[in-house]
């Protein structure tokens, strides 16, 4: 059996006085899109931050391709690319400079650096605005730059946290297509969203979080069950009829 890309075991986390996660467990495999669903405040973003080592677990373990986030955080970060809803780019750097900066901090240099940067620029169709300062780019273009910098070091695990929440229809579609393409390349894609329609179309398996606990987990069809839409199952699971 192949090693899971992400393995979360009995994970707990408290932020301030708020117990955000109450012992959640799940696994995500390479070559699949794994949906992390839940209403606002369910603990999705905290879970992603724990996986990417930005936060430390209070209890439980998180492993990324066998590396424990507590004992080998830098190894984990080398293998993770994260795209968040907040499209933060350095406004006074060009799109290319933004991407190259993160590539360098991920350990790339020399010819490999240049080759990787140009490869992601071409793959995400950034070429036409690669030399422009980020402050002059549209939201969709900035999101492409954000994706490019997250994947420039070719990580086997990609995490998307509400990636389409600030985008128009066209840019959202491009992001979705990119996730499917990444899955095709054998990457594990974790997709955190509350847009259930997107999750139903894209995800192979999903886990639904509610108030810091896993309330459902399995393939999209399994979680939906006999209900006509995933949304019906979701509302039932989080206690809204």
């Amino acid at each position: 059996m192949t090693e899971p890309a992400v393995s979360v075991e009995r994970l707990e986390k408290t932020l301030g006085k708020n117990k955000v996660l109450r012992g959640i467990s799940f696994q995500a495999q390479p070559g699949e899109i794994f949906g992390l669903l839940g209403p606002n405040g369910a603990g999705k973003t905290t879970t992603l931050r724990l996986i990417s080592t930005l936060l430390s677990p209070d209890a439980g373990t998180v492993k990324v391709l066998g590396f424990d986030t507590r004992t080998a955080p830098e190894e984990v970060r080398r293998r993770v690319g994260v795209v968040t809803a907040d499209i933060g780019v350095y406004p006074r750097l060009s799109a290319r400079e933004n991407i190259a900066y993160f590539a360098q901090l991920s350990g790339l240099d020399g010819r490999k650096l240049k080759a990787r940067v140009e490869a992601v620029i071409e793959r995400l169709d950034i070429d036409s605005f690669a030399g422009q300062r980020a402050e002059s780019l549209s939201s969709g273009q900035k999101q492409k730059v954000a994706i490019a910098r997250a994947i420039v070091h070719d990580p086997p695990l990609l995490m998307f946290d509400e990636p389409t929440s600030n985008l128009d229809v066209l840019a959202s579609r491009e992001v979705r297509e990119f996730m499917v393409e990444s899955k095709g390349r054998g990457k594990c894609v974790i997709f955190s969203t509350h847009v259930l329609h997107d999750a139903e179309r894209l995800c192979d398996r999903i886990t639904i979080l509610h108030q810091g606990e896993v309330v459902a987990s399995g393939s999209t069809a399994e979680v939906r069950g006999i209900r006509p839409e995933l949304e019906d199952a979701f509302l039932e699971l989080v206690g809204v009829q």
Binding site: L15, S56, T84, G88, Y90, P91
Partner: protein, 377 residues
């Protein structure tokens, strides 16, 4: 250290493309000569300005010429006391054997006119006494049984120049280091949070301590550039203007001892300030909040420089050199005024500033690595 270099290079590029920082450095370069020019003009004007003396009575023979020669203009008035309040700078009533003087001590022009009048009257009285003695065949030399022969141990021009520099140079150096790096420090900390780039930066495998070190190095560099621009332009300006002093050509120059010392102290102060401002910037959620945190630093810098201005002969014990910023100002003042380096004071100053920088770096690192950096909204 590769990550530090990468962060340093990126920060410098971003800073140099930031209009706020460029304006700060530009102001540093242009403001100093302008301020010096204004000081020079005001000083020259004060030294050469004519002051009006309102008078009544008969002017003693020869005194009118002496007063005119020293830019004291005699103006006839009806009531010298009333005129001295506004109409003229000084009022006098010439009487037989005495002069009543009226002046308002709250007016600076009255004070200057009073000093000039007293000097002229001293010369006038001495000349009259000497003439009277000579007419009776007595040597006027008996009026001055003891002659004072001054032997200054250094050039009075140089002393005046040093006194000016001992205040102005440390003040410019320290304030420019702070203001030059101010915006850069906030931009690379609070700015990262504000424009949502911090999370992506912390997601890279680069150790956070190296990232922070790169930011400190960049802010330090910009601070030093601002300070060099300000001091460079100050010296260019000083070659073009002269300040009123013991001689007409009182151009100001810095002694060779002070130059390397200034570079060393500037480096220490810049590193310390960078770490402190980055720590404060890390605490802030936005650029504006960062500004509120950093602004009190201005007062901390202005206060020590003011001590040197108001107490020029302040000679503190070695313990005072433990106080950051004050120690930098004092060490620079000592080098400029005395042309020597007080090694124990310099050693204590260096240790103090290094410790301050190290402590601030440690605090900044703690703040930079805490979870609340991302989770606090």
């Amino acid at each position: 250290m590769r990550a530090t270099w990468i962060v340093f290079r990126k920060e410098v590029i971003e800073i140099l493309r930031d209009r706020r920082t460029l304006i700060a450095i530009g102001l540093a370069a242009f403001a100093t000569p302008i301020v010096l020019g204004v000081i020079s003009q005001v000083s020259t004007k004060t030294a050469t300005q004519a002051y009006a003396i309102g008078y009544t009575g008969d002017i003693p023979t020869g005194l009118g010429e002496l007063l005119t020669a020293t830019n004291l203009k005699l103006v006839p008035v009806i009531d010298p006391a009333a005129a001295a309040k506004q109409q003229v700078d000084l009022g006098v009533a010439f009487k037989a054997g005495e002069i009543d003087e009226y002046y308002d001590p709250t007016r600076q022009s009255a004070q200057i006119a009073d000093i000039r009048l007293q000097t002229v009257l001293g010369q006038y009285n001495a000349a009259k006494a000497a003439a009277a003695l000579q007419s009776k065949g007595v040597d006027p030399g008996i009026l001055t049984p003891l002659h004072l022969l001054p032997h200054p141990l250094s050039s009075p021009v140089r002393a005046a120049s040093n006194a000016f520099l001992s205040f102005f140079l440390p003040y410019i150096l320290i304030t420019m280091i702070l203001t030059g790096g101010f915006s850069a420090a906030l931009d690379s900390t609070a700015g990262e949070r504000e424009r949502k780039t911090l999370e992506s930066l912390l997601l890279t495998p680069a150790p956070r301590s190296r990232v922070l070190l790169g930011k400190i190095a960049a802010v330090t560099t910009i601070s030093l550039v601002a300070a060099v621009a300000a001091i460079g332009s100050m010296f260019v300006a000083l070659t073009q203007i002269s300040l009123p002093g013991p001689s007409e050509s009182s151009h100001i120059s810095l002694n060779p001892v002070a130059v390397p010392l200034m570079v060393w102290v500037a480096l220490l102060v810049a590193v310390s300030f960078s770490a402190v401002t980055l720590a404060l910037g890390t605490l802030a959620k936005s650029f504006r909040q960062g500004q509120a945190y950093v602004t009190p630093l201005y007062f901390i810098t202005i206060f020590p420089a003011s001590i040197v201005l108001f107490i020029p002969d302040f000679n503190p014990s070695l313990a005072y050199y433990l106080i950051p910023i004050l120690n930098a100002v004092l060490v620079l003042r000592d080098a400029i005024v005395h042309d020597t380096v007080a090694w124990p004071a310099l050693a204590v100053t260096s240790l103090s500033l290094l410790a301050t920088g190290g402590l601030a770096w440690f605090v900044a690192l703690r703040l930079f690595t805490r979870e609340a950096l991302l989770t606090r909204s």
